[in-house]
Every structure is written in structure tokens, then in C-alpha cells.
């Protein structure tokens, strides 16, 4: 009986996901504090910074997908932009986590104790945190403003309760003009896309590239935001596949949606690898010791060279070979597994970029229980945030009503 009723009206158990997510987040906080109190606080801060960058980029990249769909007037994506919007729930958490990064500044920025040869005008803690903090506030404000208009278009007038709904959809009873919402959504979408490119470039330069203050790559900013879109699409595919598995056809997601977003994911897998190679080949040709030392440390000295090959295989070679096939893109379970492996690969890529800078030799090579638990904590925070958003906006996980019904409401 119970099973039959369940199948007739499937729903996302958002409350349970929020609870489990919060428990995992608590576990992550405990692991972080325990590692911090142990002999090597550096290890805790390194894991924290990697996770902050990876999970924030995931949310920023997923929301970028919604903005791109709106700005390009795409019609193929169906319910995917609505699901992508749910990642905006991680924005406030990301901002809070950025404030925590400030607390670990002494452990995170090796250049604090170095002679910067004139770069101190740019690389100093007050200026760095001010510009990055302002950048994140602007990016997230534009993201929420865009999502607000996008949701008004998708859902219409607010008929439910809750502060988040009132904040994003307006108070219940307020009418919305679809034409003005559309115009505003497109303008805000463009602004979000521009801010995304600028702010993620800034974060890439300040929080990753600056860890080796004497190494410079002008392409590093673009590499950072392309990578963020890549993992944002990966996270969105995981969410969409989970929703499809749980809700079936009632969510409005079809094989064609998965095939199309799978193609986009494949394209950004190629673009990410292209940006990686474009940086590498210029350094290789230039052969300037200031530039090559960064690459040699990471690709030719153990254990980083093994990690570099692992990242290349997991984030490019493997998905390239697999995603050539159309059918696998439409299999939700398979795509969840593949995207999870790629996201883990990008986590390792952050370790590869930051580890050698934060600890000389192999001192920064930390992959163990503390890193696993801290990562689980971030996963829990993301899952809880997304589930909370979808709980407040259940329309996003349901197939859109026919046009005639929609206009009548």
C-alpha cells in the first residue's frame, strides 16, 4: 500500500536531505576543528581552502548555466535552469566560508613571509580580502537578483509561504508582469555572466596563483572560470539525475535534456583541457626558469607527478572517451558516478595547484581522513542548501504545466 502510494506521487524527501546534510556539515566542522587543534593546522586550512574554492565554483558555475540559458533564449534545457538556480542557496554559505578563510590567512598565504619585489602593492591581506570580498558580494547579489526574476518568470506570482519565497518572488498576492521580468532577467543575466568572469578570475589569481607569488600566467583567470563552469555543469547533472531517478517523468526531465547537457559538459571538458594545454605549451616554449619551476614541481617530481597524471586522466581522458557515446549521457545513474569522479578529479587538481606552494616538497601532499571528513562537511552543506531551496520551490522539480494552464493561473 505504502509503496503504491509512494509511486503514484513521488516527492523529494528534502527534509531528510537537509537533516543528513547538516549532520555531515557538523561532522566536517568537527573534523576541521580537530585537525586545527592538532599539530598541523596548516593541513586543516589547506583542505578548507581547496573545498571553499571547489564548492563555491560549483555553485557559481551552476547558476551561470541558468543565466546563459536565459540570455541565449535557449529552449532545449527545459527544467534544468530551474534546478541550476537551486545552487544559489550555497552563495550565503560561500560568503561565510570566505570570511573563515580570512581567519586562516597566516597559514594560507606563503608570501606573507616573503620579499615580494614590488608586488606587495597588490599582494597584501587588507587589499586582497577587500577586493575579493566585494567581488563575491557583487557576484552573489547579481546572482540572486537574476534568480529572482528568472523564478518569477518560471513560477509566476507567489502563492506559497516562507521568507525565501517572499524574498525572491515577492509577497503573496503581488502580480508580476512577465515582459518586464523577462527584460530584467536578461539584463541581470548578462551582468551576472560578466561579474562571474571577472570575480572568478580575481579569485583564481588571488587565492590560487598568488600562492606561488613569483609565478605568473595571464590565462589563469580564464582557466579558473572555465573550470568552474565545467564543475558547475557536473554538479547540475548530478542533481538532475538524482531528481529524475526519484521523481521519474513527473519532473519533466527527458533523455533529450540529459543528452544535450551531457554534450555541453563534454564541450567544457575539452575547453578545460584546452586552457590547461594552452598555458602549458607557452611555458614549455618560453623555457624561463621562473615559469617552468611551477610546472616541473607539479609534473616531474614525486608524488605530484602521479597526481598530475591522475588529474589529466580523471578530468579529461576518461570523460572524453566515455562522453563520445550518446547513450551513456542519458543514463542518470551512470552520469552521477561519472560526474562525481570528475568533481573528485577537480578537487585533486586544486590540491595539485595549492599543495606544493603551501608545503615545501611533499609537506603539502595531504589526502587522508581529515581531508575526507572536511570534504564531506562541504558536501553536506551544499546538499542541505540545495534541498532547502527545492523544498521552498517545489515547482522547480515538477514538469511545467501546459501553456493554457499557466496563463490562466
Amino acid at each position: 500500500m505504502n509503496t503504491t502510494a509512494h509511486l503514484l506521487s513521488p516527492e523529494l524527501d528534502t527534509r531528510r536531505i537537509v537533516t543528513v546534510g547538516l549532520v555531515l556539515a557538523g561532522l566536517g566542522v568537527a573534523a576541521f576543528l580537530a585537525t586545527l587543534a592538532a599539530q598541523h593546522p596548516q593541513r586543516a586550512w589547506q583542505a578548507f581552502l581547496i573545498n571553499f574554492l571547489v564548492w563555491s565554483a560549483m555553485a557559481q558555475g551552476a547558476v551561470l548555466f541558468a543565466a546563459v540559458m536565459q540570455v541565449t533564449r535557449a529552449r532545449w534545457s527545459g527544467p534544468l535552469p530551474g534546478l541550476a538556480a537551486s545552487f544559489s542557496a550555497f552563495f550565503p554559505i560561500s560568503l561565510l566560508l570566505f570570511a573563515v578563510v580570512f581567519a586562516g590567512r597566516r597559514h594560507l598565504f606563503p608570501w606573507l613571509h616573503e620579499d615580494l619585489h614590488g608586488k606587495q602593492a597588490w599582494l597584501n591581506i587588507p587589499f586582497l580580502f577587500s577586493r575579493d570580498g566585494i567581488g563575491l558580494v557583487v557576484l552573489y547579489s547579481l546572482g540572486f537578483a537574476f534568480i529572482s526574476q528568472d523564478l518569477r518568470l518560471a513560477i509566476g506570482a507567489n502563492t506559497g509561504a516562507g521568507r525565501l519565497r517572499a524574498c525572491l518572488l515577492g509577497r503573496p498576492g503581488n502580480t508580476t508582469d512577465p515582459q518586464s521580468c523577462l527584460a530584467r532577467a536578461r539584463v541581470l543575466g548578462v551582468l551576472y555572466i560578466m561579474a562571474y568572469a571577472l570575480v572568478l578570475s580575481l579569485l583564481g589569481y588571488d587565492l590560487v596563483m598568488s600562492m606561488d607569488p613569483h609565478w605568473v600566467s595571464t590565462l589563469f583567470g580564464a582557466y579558473t572560470f572555465v573550470k568552474a563552469f565545467y564543475i558547475g555543469l557536473g554538479a547540475l547533472i548530478i542533481l538532475a539525475a538524482a531528481v529524475r531517478l526519484r521523481l521519474g517523468d513527473t519532473c519533466g526531465l527527458t533523455d533529450a535534456h540529459f543528452a544535450d547537457i551531457g554534450k555541453l559538459f563534454f564541450a567544457f571538458c575539452l575547453l578545460w583541457a584546452d586552457f590547461f594545454y594552452v598555458q602549458l605549451v607557452v611555458i614549455w616554449y618560453g623555457n624561463i626558469p621562473e615559469e617552468t619551476s611551477y610546472v616541473i614541481t607539479r609534473t616531474m617530481t614525486a608524488p605530484w607527478n602521479h597526481l598530475a597524471w591522475t588529474v589529466l586522466f580523471v578530468c579529461f581522458i576518461m570523460p572524453f572517451c566515455i562522453l563520445l557515446n550518446r547513450r551513456v549521457k542519458t543514463r542518470p545513474r551512470f552520469m552521477i558516478g561519472l560526474c562525481a569522479v570528475i568533481l573528485a578529479g577537480i578537487w585533486l587538481e586544486h590540491l595539485l595547484l595549492l599543495g606544493p606552494a603551501l608545503g615545501p616538497g611533499t609537506a603539502g601532499f595531504h589526502i587522508g581522513l581529515p581531508e575526507g571528513l572536511i570534504t564531506l562537511g562541504f558536501l553536506g552543506a551544499m546538499a542541505a542548501a540545495v534541498a532547502f531551496f527545492l523544498k521552498r520551490f517545489p515547482e522547480l522539480t515538477r514538469a511545467a504545466p501546459p501553456a493554457s494552464e499557466k496563463t490562466s493561473t
Binding site: 594545454y277 602549458l280 605549451v281 614549455w284 616554449y285 623555457n287 563520445l324
Partner: protein, 183 residues
């Protein structure tokens, strides 16, 4: 079996202005005793392709094979050319794989395109210099044409079928036995 297939000498084409009606007619035709010979579409149509329920095209395999051959050919050519000179330039190794990726990549794309074109030509039987039998020039304009074959005594029934589906039927003369059948 062969006898019954050979008996379908008469060809009737249904001409449709609507893509949806043409797709529906194709689906209905599959459940009828008549034989679907050919479909002409003035534009690429996913609906028509879905209604035809064709087997997956092999053109992609030709493209993939071309790409793989190109990848190894590109690296092979670059390595072969470098080893013919054995000159160390700028302190770089003679066989330097990092810059050879560019040659490998370009050859991958080039040979994939060659494979694609070759696959397209071989799988579609192009080029053909024979005039297509039972063709209506309106299919090059704005009509979807569905060509079906039936026994000579059934042609009116088949024409009515196309009319019921919303199309305009055109009955072609039955070919003489020496001219053979439509592909």
C-alpha cells in the same frame, strides 16, 4: 516473400505541407499492408527521423575511425619529420611531445572530417548519376513527400489513405518490368 515484395509495382506519393501530418502518416503507413519506399523532406526533421525509426547511422563510426587514425598520423608525422633532422633547437628534445599535440590535434580534426565525408558518401550511396524515379519536384520546395508502393489494384486505396492523413496523393505509373524498382 520475394514474390509478394515484387508484386508491389505501383507507387503513390503523399505530399504534405505539415511536418506533423507527414510524421503521423509515416507511422500509420508502417501498420498498413503497403510498403514505405522513400521519404523526402525539404528540411532536416527530427520528427520525420523519429517516425521512420531508422537504425543508427554508421557515419559516426567513420568519423571516429578517421579521428583516431588522424591522431596517430599527426604524432607519427611530427616524430618522423623531427628524427630526419636530429637538430636540437632551443635546448628542446628532438622528439618533444608537448608541441606535437598541436599537430596531433589538427590531424585528428582533419582526418575525422575526411572520415565523416567518406562515411556520408558510402552510407548514402552518393554520388548518384541516375535520375531518381517517382520524384515530385515539390519535395524540393515546401512539401514532405512520402513514397509508398502497393499492388497495382490497390493504388486508389493508398491514395485515399494519404488523403485521409491530410496529404495530396500523386499516383505514378507502374514501371515496366525491365526498368526495375525504385530504391
Amino acid at each position: 516473400m520475394k514474390k509478394s515484395a515484387d508484386a508491389l509495382h505501383q507507387h503513390v506519393m503523399g505530399l504534405f505541407r505539415s511536418e506533423d501530418q507527414a510524421a503521423a502518416a509515416i507511422r500509420q503507413l508502417a501498420q498498413s499492408p503497403w510498403k514505405l519506399r522513400r521519404v523526402h523532406s525539404p528540411v532536416p526533421s527530427h520528427k520525420i527521423a523519429a517516425a521512420l525509426a531508422l537504425k543508427k547511422s554508421r557515419v559516426g563510426l567513420f568519423t571516429l575511425a578517421g579521428g583516431i587514425i588522424g591522431f596517430f598520423s599527426g604524432f607519427g608525422l611530427a616524430i618522423y619529420a623531427s628524427t630526419q633532422w636530429h637538430l636540437i633547437v632551443g635546448g628542446k628534445p628532438v622528439v618533444a611531445l608537448v608541441p606535437f599535440v598541436i599537430v596531433g590535434f589538427e590531424f585528428t580534426i582533419l582526418f575525422a572530417v575526411f572520415g565523416n565525408v567518406l562515411g556520408f558518401l558510402t552510407q548514402t550511396g552518393l554520388p548518384t548519376f541516375k535520375r531518381l524515379p517517382h520524384y515530385d519536384a515539390r519535395c524540393s520546395g515546401e512539401h514532405f513527400g512520402i513514397l509508398a508502393a502497393c499492388r497495382p489494384e490497390q493504388h486508389r486505396e493508398l491514395a485515399e489513405f494519404f488523403t485521409r492523413q491530410g496529404g495530396e496523393p500523386r499516383i505514378f505509373d507502374a514501371p515496366s518490368p525491365t526498368r526495375g524498382q525504385a530504391p
